[in-house]
Amino acid sequence: VSGRDQRHVRRAERAIACAFMLSALGGVGFAVVYGLGGQTQLEGTALGLAFGGLAAGLGIWARRLLPTGGYVEEHPGFGSPELASDALADRLTELDQPWRRAILVRLLGLTVGTVGVALLFPLRSLLTSGLAGPTHALRHTPWRAGGLRLVDAGGRPVRADEVTPGTVLTVYPEGHLGAGDAPAFVVRLDPARFALRPPARGVAGIVAYSLLCTHAGCPVGLYEQGTGQMFCPCHQSVFDLLAGGRPISGPAGRPLPGLPITVDSSGYLRATGDFSSPPGAGFWSRP
């Protein structure tokens, strides 16, 4: 072993020792930071140092002090000779050997299959919607009850005169704030500008639509007052409120369902029925 090699080895050993010391320091640092009350950035740095030092030390050790490559292992090939494979197959089919028992083997297969299918039945309990299935739930929303007042996110009923031009107000059926399919919005538009009539009856220039995009159910949250367009921030579908809520751009294919509304004697907005079609994303049995 030459002197240069020895120097090389000594330098590697020093580097590894330094890395391990740093690692230990990182570990102690982490414990101290944690003990003093914790601080995410310092914890991450200390623990990163601990693992990083370990990685460096072990890496240098493997690279500088241990051989890389230089070994060969024989690879006897893939698979056994055909004779051996056949012998195994013969051994496995021994159950089937006496001819008359083939029927029993088939029956066994049938039994196992039946029990397997039977065991799948409890999965049906995961359907919590009851025997009616999803169709009813998807087609109807709490607005169906009729006569429900429109309330804002705080549960406060909305008066017709609060809906000023240029504002979009998200509304919910009174008493059903958490319902996922019920959110709607009201907006005041000049009926003279309508290219197409809204799908549901408005009142005094106020129209109400489902808030859920007909593409994938995101709330269509962004309103452009001048053009009367609603924009969905998820997949950039644009709906034209002046043309009956029709999609004019993006991946949505169906118009926003309208909500029929009226004003009661106290000036509050009320829905007279359900949306003009099921809200949100499409599904197979949607009319």
Partner: protein
């Protein structure tokens, strides 16, 4: 000394020495691309460790809960238990935020490493016979990893992930005939259902990780059984594996990688904020944040949803909504193509022989072209998932941008695939070592020969010889030498007799001449085991300590 005693204790009960010695001698090829799978493995370990910690604090329920804690804006407010407990474990559990963020970063790196590993396997043809089995296991693990990433990301019940969950629900709902039933079955009712978070929790912490752990074990068992594939080079062939031995070189190297992966994750988790759910707020079906991007590994689906045009249509009065095509059909075809690829390629190329040597990517221009096209396609979809951010940053109209992406997604993969195909053909037919050395003549030849049949890549000619020798009058070894001793490859294990050694050498290098050799220099006889007694000073100290202990015990007994 301790090691020797321990080995004897275990060996006399379990008879371990022979299998363990064989395992420690296993040869691993030395190539940096073989690390991706290991990075995925170690990411999984980090994910399990950090995940168990998080599960101790997370409450998988959408029941109302009032948050009281260090995060002032939420203090005293009522949200779902899942959201409140996520905020609490981020702000009120010491080191909780570090662990949570490390867990999230680990998930991103886990799937990234899997995808890189898959690309390496694909471009080098490592999936060919007999390794199709492990390819199938690997693709299954990728789907499970995607599923677990998405459920984990969605569990905190925050606004951003809740919106993503609603999109996923809508995609399931779009499946013809069964969609609404499947959506109700999986999510537990009409969205948002109370059952969704607990179900995702069971899948995320129990079902899918258990499946993944089982499949990882299977993946590695098959790997050990089939042994590693390797790139062609001098001394490497279809009948051997050349590289470093598991112990000690490879063990230290891989442990170093484990530590490095852990270091990267805790450093990212400590220093780089990820998924700050307290900024997004709790989920509310009537609110949405803008811009909204999912984690990178589901972004290809999101991009496809953004680009696919409105294409609702009716079949016998029933609706097929447009998310069905980008959401279900694209995803289904993607994984179908991945599962089928090894069999498809074998069928088209009529190549059914087992392979131990890997292709260089250029050796198979058609495969390279298809792989490049796929990578470009999915990368563009990932980019399209951020089209709103791109539009906002560069002040571009969103409609024009969507149309640009639509054209690019169809044209760019084909262009890139063809380019890859021709460059690979040029590299293969010429003498250039890399893209930088390609000459015009190479390119012309590559284009001209594009219809030529794929030639067999000649195996490296074996010019060396083999020496067999006896070591210490005990065991036999052999080694392979190339002329001038530029390459010396020593057998990884030892053999009880000359015959066994010769047989192994012949199996590794068929047709190579075998002759007797001398033990290579530098070998030293192992020193006879010496029972080392503690040094006098240690002995004295131990004795003193014993005396003290005995006296103390006596005194306490006297009282």
């Amino acid at each position: 000394m301790i090691v020797r005693r321990l080995v004897r204790v275990l060996d006399s009960r379990l008879r371990l020495s022979s299998p363990v010695r064989k395992a420690l001698a296993k040869v691993f090829p030395d190539h940096w691309t073989f690390m991706f799978g290991e990075i995925a493995l170690y990411s999984f370990v980090v994910l399990v460790l950090t995940g168990v910690y998080l599960a101790l604090f997370f409450e998988a329920s959408t029941a109302d809960r009032v948050y009281h804690g260090a995060y002032q804006p939420l203090d005293g407010k009522s949200t779902s238990a899942a959201y409140a407990s996520t905020v609490a474990l981020s702000f009120d559990v010491r080191a909780g935020l570090l662990i949570r963020q490390a867990h999230h970063w680990a998930a991103l790196i886990f799937i990234g490493a899997i995808v890189l590993h898959l690309a390496r396997i694909f471009f080098t043809g490592a999936f060919r016979k007999p390794r199709e089995v492990n390819w199938l296991v690997g693709v299954t693990m990728l789907t499970l990893a995607l599923l677990n990433g998405f459920t984990g990301y969605s569990m905190p019940d925050d606004l951003l992930s809740g919106t993503g969950l609603r999109i996923a629900y809508s995609v399931v709902e779009s499946i013809p005939l069964l969609g609404d039933w499947l959506a109700f079955l999986a999510f537990g009712g009409e969205f948002p259902a109370d059952q969704t978070v607990p179900r995702m929790f069971v899948a995320h912490v129990f079902l899918v990780p258990a499946l993944l752990a089982g499949l990882i074990a299977l993946h590695m068992l098959i790997l050990v059984r089939q042994k590693h594939s390797q790139f062609p080079a001098a001394g490497r062939g279809e009948h051997n594996v050349v590289g470093s031995r598991l112990w000690p070189s490879y063990t230290l190297r891989t442990l170093s990688l484990f530590a490095a992966v852990s270091a990267a994750m805790v450093a990212l988790g400590g220093l780089f904020q990820i998924n700050p759910v307290w900024i997004y707020g709790p989920y509310d079906p009537a609110t949405v944040s803008s811009p909204a991007q999912p984690d990178w590994y589901v972004a290809w689906e999101e991009g496809a949803l953004r680009l696919f045009p409105a294409a609702d249509f009716h079949v016998f009065g029933h609706l097929v909504p447009s998310p069905f095509f980008p959401g279900v059909v694209l995803g289904g075809l993607t994984f179908l193509a991945l599962y089928a690829w090894p069999f498809l390629e074998a069928w088209v190329t009529r190549e059914r022989a087992p392979h131990q040597l890997l292709d260089r990517p250029r050796d198979h221009p058609a495969r390279l072209g298809i792989g490049v096209a796929a990578l470009v396609f999915y990368s563009l979809l990932v980019a399209a998932a951020s089209d709103d951010v791109i539009a906002r940053t560069f002040h571009l109209p969103i409609t024009g941008l969507v149309w640009t992406f639509r054209v690019l997604v169809l044209v760019a993969p084909i262009a890139a695939g063809l380019l890859g195909y021709f460059l690979a053909s040029a590299l293969r037919s010429g003498s250039a070592g890399g893209f930088g050395e390609l000459t015009r003549a190479d390119l012309r030849r590559g284009v001209a020969r594009r219809t030529a049949e794929r030639e067999e890549v000649p195996e490296q000619p074996i010019r060396g010889r083999i020496e067999v020798w006896q070591e210490f009058g005990l065991v036999w070894r052999w080694r392979y030498l190339e002329p001038g001793e530029h390459l010396v490859l020593t057998c990884n294990s030892d053999y009880p007799g000359e015959q066994e050694a010769t047989a192994a050498a012949r199996a590794a290098y068929p047709g190579v001449s075998i002759g007797p050799g001398r033990p290579p220099p530098g070998l030293e006889l192992p020193a006879a085991p010496v029972t080392r007694l503690p040094r006098p000073l240690t002995r004295t100290l131990l004795f003193a300590a014993w005396v003290v202990v005995v006296r103390l015990l006596r005194r306490s007994g006297a009282r």
